[in-house]
Every structure is written in C-alpha cells, then in structure tokens.
C-alpha cells in the first residue's frame, strides 16, 4: 500500500481558477492604476486604428483661424494653417503607434529569440550570438537612424519601426540570456532534460513562460522608447515629413510657429507633448501588472 497524503476537505483551498484570461482580468482589476493604464493604452490604440477614418484625408485649412484659441469647433485650437489641432493629434497617432508597435515587436522577437538560444545552448553558439549582440549594442542607434534617414525614406511607419527595432534588441537579448542561464540550473529544467524532452519544447514551453514577465515589460518599455526616438527624429527635422505625426507637430510648433517665443502656438506645442506623456504614463502604470500576469501564483493569489 502506498501511503496516501490524505486531503482533508477543509484543507482543499478554493478550486483553482486556472484560465489565463480570467486571471489576467483579476490582475488588472486589482489596482485602479492598472485599469487607468490599460484604458489609456486602449484609448490610444483605438485612436491610431480608427482616428484617420474620422477625418478627411487632407485636413481642411482655415486661413481665418490661424493659431485660434480653443473653442467648441477647435477644442485644442488650430495650427499655423488654421487646421484643427485635435484632428492632427488623432490622425497623427497612427504613424507614431504603428511604427512603435513594429519596433517593439521586432525588439522582443529578435531579443528574446537570441537570448533564449544563447542561454540555452551555451558554448560556441552562445559566444557567436553574443558577439553579434555586442555589435548591435555598440552601434549608436540615434546617429545611425539619422544616417539611414538620408538614404532611406521613412514615410512608411513599418520601415521606421523596423529600423528602431533592429537597433534596439541588444539589451533585451543580454538580459534574457542571463535569465535563461540561471533558469537552466533550476531543478525543473534539469528534469526536463533528464526526461528527454525536445529542445523546442524546453525552450518554448518551459523557459519562455518564465521569462515572459520580463519580456512583456520590455515590450511595453520599447514602445515608449520607440515613440521617443521617432518623435525626436521628426522634431529635429532630420527625416523628411511624409505624413502627419506628433513629431512633425512638435517640429512645426517650435521652428515654424515660434512656440518658444510666442504664446500663440503654445497649445499646438503642448498637445502632442501631453499625448506622448499620457501614453507613457498609461504604459508605466500598466507595467506593474506584468509580474502578476505571467506568474500563476501571483495571478491567482
């Protein structure tokens, strides 16, 4: 007879709620700041998707209302051409968020993939991957973007995102690698290897979920990083303006509108800045849910 660990009914805790999405819902609802953060992110995402459809392709110009103050018709006033600033913010969101999302996905996919493989295989493959990573880490991203912008047209958001992503994955790769290395010595990975489980299974099903909170955090942070980088490029005016976006607005407000010296363009200047700050705030507030989201213990707890 095998001794049974008796499970007295009272010792049974509540039935586990193991569904990821119901758990995720609880995690978000646990703190008001997370609800706010998620709401902000969703709000801007919707703005990026739907926004451009709400306005005509070429926003109307009104020479009679240049730098008009806020009013019912123009809640955020108008710009140097008399175009509604709110409309500029809404239509400009798509380029900013689209390219930032592409950048974040590229960063995470490349960084996580390289980090996992290097950490799991160790040895020569690890060294080779890490030398490549170091190369990308040492290339200064911002100047490279300026150089690239002279030969490459960044009118398309994905192209911008791709470049930002490809120059930004090095740090994540290093971090994921070191986490993988330390996980590798944990009992459950030794057991998985001892059981003869396949390498793809071990890397994807066993290791990846354990580095997921870290990866998700980096995903969100690289979104903000990418936004800053591209808005910076446009603000500096080193990439040609092909489409309306927040960076272009900043540039025009400062260099064409003289917002630094004149009161007129102040709201025009502040609007994209506040949009960026608000989105960043939303992301930062939502960030603290990541640990609990991907750790079953914290998720159900």
């Amino acid at each position: 007879m095998v001794a049974v660990d008796p499970l007295v009914p009272e010792a049974r805790p509540r039935l586990p709620r193991t569904g990821f999405w119901s758990g995720a819902g609880r995690v978000v609802l646990r703190k008001p700041s997370r609800i706010f953060g998620l709401a902000v992110i969703v709000f801007f995402a919707l703005m990026a998707i739907v926004g451009p459809f709400l306005y005509p392709k070429n926003l109307p110009i009104d020479p009679n209302a240049i730098y008009a103050p806020p009013s019912l018709a123009h809640p955020l006033g108008t710009d140097f051409e008399g175009t509604d600033v709110l409309a500029l913010i809404v239509t400009g969101a798509r380029y900013v968020l689209y390219s930032a999302a592409v950048a974040a996905v590229v960063t995470v996919v490349v960084g996580t993939g390289v980090g996992l493989l290097a950490g799991y295989y160790r040895g020569i493959r690890d060294s080779a991957l890490m030398r490549v990573t170091d190369l990308f880490l040492t290339v200064p991203g911002f100047p490279l973007l300026i150089v690239l912008s002279t030969i490459w047209n960044f009118g398309a958001a994905p192209a911008m995102g791709l470049v930002l992503g490809l120059t930004g994955w090095g740090g994540l790769a290093r971090a994921v690698r070191s986490q993988t290395l330390s996980l590798r010595e944990r009992g459950f990975l030794e057991a998985a290897r001892g059981l003869g489980l396949s390498t793809p299974h071990i890397v994807i099903k066993q290791i990846l979920p354990n580095v997921a909170p870290y990866v998700a955090m980096n995903l969100l942070l690289s979104v903000t990083g990418a936004i800053y980088a591209e808005v910076g490029l446009f603000f500096l005016g080193v990439v040609p303006f092909k489409a309306n976006n927040w960076g272009v607005m900043l540039n025009l407000a400062v260099f064409s509108g003289g917002a630094i010296t004149s009161q007129n363009a102040l709201i025009y200047l502040l609007s994209p800045l506040v949009a960026i700050l608000l989105l960043t705030l939303g992301i930062v507030l939502f960030l603290d849910a990541m640990d609990e989201l991907f750790n079953p213990r914290l998720r159900e707890g």
């Binding site: 001794a3 660990d5 008796p6 007295v8 009272e10 010792a11």
Partner: protein
Amino acid sequence: MATAETGVQAASPGTGEAAVRVRDLTVVYATARGELPAVAHVDLDLPAGQITGIVGESGSGKSTLALALLNAVQRPGRILSGSVQVAGVGDVVTLGRRALRQARGGKIGYVFQASQSSLNPLKTVGKQLLDLGRSHDVADLRQLIREAKGLAEEMGLDPVRALGSYQHQLSGGMRQRVGIIFALVLNAHVLVLDEPTTALDMLSQALVLGIVRRVHRERGLTTVIITHDIGVVAELADRLAVMYAGRIVEEGRTEEVLASPLHPYTAGLIAAIPRIVGDPNRSRPLSGRPPDLTTVPPRGCPFRERCPVAMDVCEVEDPALVEVPGGRRVACHARGRGVAVR
C-alpha cells in the same frame, strides 16, 4: 480560538526560577482574511540555566515565538496580547524602543538561522563587532574585542583569524559560531538559537551543538533552541516544548517527552523519525499535513484531523494546556479522559 474554559486551571509551569516567563502570548499576522494568530495564548517558562528545545513543523509558530521573545516580530505580524517577562529586563512587550534595543544583545542574544547569513558581506567580523559595541554604547571597545576573542577561543576558532574574516571566508559551522559570539559578547544571559543547524552537515551540526552545550554550561546561560527536527534537541535540551498550529501542545523534560509522549502529535512526530537502531519498519508516517495560518480550523483541537484518538469533543473544544502529574503539561482531551495516546 480562545483557550476553551475547561474548568482546569491553566498550569503555571515549571519549578524554580524562570529566566523568561511567557504568559498568554498571542501574535497575529495580517492576511487577506484578517489578522490570524501565528502564536495563540502561549504560556511558557524558560527555567534559568536550562536548555529548552522548541520543536515544531513549518507553520507551527515556533520562529514567531522566538522573535516575540525579543519583541522583534516584523510586520505584517504584531504581538496582540500577553507578556514576555525577562529576568533583569522586565516585560519586553511593553519596553520602549531604546530599552528594547539595549535588551537585545545586551540581555537576550539571538542567533539567526544557519541557512541565512546575518553578517554584512562587506565588513570583517571584527568591524561588525565594533559596530555592535558602538550601537550599544560600550565604553571599552578593547575589552569587547578581548571578550569576543575569548569566546572565539572557547568555541575552537582561531580568534585573530575569525575576527579578521569576511563572511564568505567562513564555513557554515564557523558562521554559526560567529553568530554565537555576536549573541554573547555583550554578556547576554538568555541565548535564543533559531534553527541553528539547518543546512549544516552532520559533523558541523554535532560540533555546533557541542559548542552550544559547552558555552551554555560555562556561562550559566538560559538557552532556547528552535528547531523543526526533534533530533537536534533530543540529546541537548533539558526540556522540550512541542508546538502545533501556534500552540504549545506538550511540554516537559526531554527524556520523559521522548520516552512517553502524552500528546498524539508528539507521539506521531517521534514515531515518524527514521531511527538508526532497531527495526526501521517501526517508524510510521503521520497522516495529513501541518496546517498553516489560513488552514487552522477556527474551532476545536487543531490536530484532530490527523489524530488517531480524536473524539467528538475535539471537534468543538480547543484543549487547554494543563499540568499533569510529574511537572509535565499537555493539551489533549484524550489525556484527560484516560484514552491511551498510542
């Protein structure tokens, strides 16, 4: 949750002078389900000059009790009620912060778990001794170092080397001995050791326990050893107190408790230890598992679900710790009703 009124006077234990007298001590922890007691209505005397072993499994409240002896329970825990009278100090539960700091180390020495290091990895042992002396306003720091060196020698350490070492240069057994130096260098007369040999090897364990015994004798200390492993204190302790679910369920002289346990939990615990002599198959596992803060039943005896002699009364009434002939105490309904515990 309160000790049920059974008409039997809760025993005032032990004879002779008690160096530490714990009365009706309750320590609670704030959890999602409100404040739950980790230590519930504990009465315990630590007789002067004796070694008392407090034995309990995870969640028994033994470590919380040890911290409460110094009024050092950390949030989210707090001492809800009761007193801890320490000879020459007073009730540490009501002591002010400054007096408390003087008492810790000065009167009561505490040695942390062997598995965790309480030393600063960036400073030598000697430097940290000086820090300790300064924080206790010791006038003669030279004398303090001499004292520490004396202790080191007493414990078989090279005094110069021990004081000049960093934490990482010391083996597990040596760290424990350094811990004892810190606990005793200010002439504490009560020594509290929390899991002193967890994570130590057999030989280091025997050595550390031997040193505890020697220092205890030579300095006339009152010593408390907190452990999950009855074996650690089976040879060393004069008295044993067995804890379960925050309560002391049995207390008495070590030989008597081990040879004829009165509480079914004690009996089960002893029987569950594989022995080095005799037929190994006489060891029997204890069914069920120890409760934690949240799974202690709100009513009745907390052990009843694992108990081979549980009765109806155990469902509703938490047995009080009562004195039985021979200076022992036990908290079991079966004992009072003539049911053999094993």
